[in-house]
Amino acid sequence: MKMLYFSILFSIVFQLSNFNAYSQEEGTKAPEIILRTQSGADFSLSSLSGKVVIVDFWASWCGPCRLGMPFLQQLYEEYKAKGLEIVGINLDTKQENIEKFINKLSKKPSFTILWDSKGGTPNTYKVAGMPTTLFIDKKGVIRYRHIGFKEEDKETYRKLIEQLLGEQ
């Protein structure tokens, strides 16, 4: 009987070792992101210190990501002058897919688009679904994490941006 209990415990431990815990990192300092932009320039998240930053993890094959992209561009145009920066981190395996998708858009994103095909940044940020959108305040703290995108989220995004822009 003891052996049976041991077997069950052994199985549970193995299962837990494979379990990927998706921690919500709201309230913690945003880890540094160092990547290259599509034009080949170096980018680091710390260079945007003092600004409200939206980091959006997306891919061209993901429906909600495609749906959210024009809205992010709209937000960028509305709030850029007030201190908002948007960083889109694409997680496609092929760079040509990003270009194909962007070329299909009626308005190309003017905010920073980075490419991370190796999945380093989503691992660091514990991305649990696509798209994952992070709202980072002026002090570099992750204040809100959102997974997915639908029409109803637009209002929440606006309220949050205005709140974060209003903070010192």
Partner: protein, 73 residues
């Protein structure tokens, strides 16, 4: 002896079963979200139907075997 063997065998099977589950990360689901991965005898027809539903519901994605990669429900 026989009992020990059965327990060891059960342990081995449990060990294999529990470690054989590979986690496909949300950002690695590009291939899984392709229309061909739709579990249906006619994926093209199903794809057209889904496109129709998306248009009417104002939704997008949530197709394929991994729900288009979005882990949002």
């Amino acid at each position: 002896m026989k009992k020990t063997f059965i327990i060891l065998f059960a342990l081995l099977v449990l060990g294999i079963l529990s470690t054989s589950c590979v986690t496909v990360q949300p950002w690695e689901r590009g291939n899984l979200s392709k229309p061909i991965m739709i579990f249906d005898k006619d994926p093209i027809k199903k794809g057209i139907l889904l496109h129709y539903i998306e248009f009417h519901e104002g939704s997008s994605g949530a197709t394929g075997s991994q729900s288009g990669g979005c882990g949002c429900g």
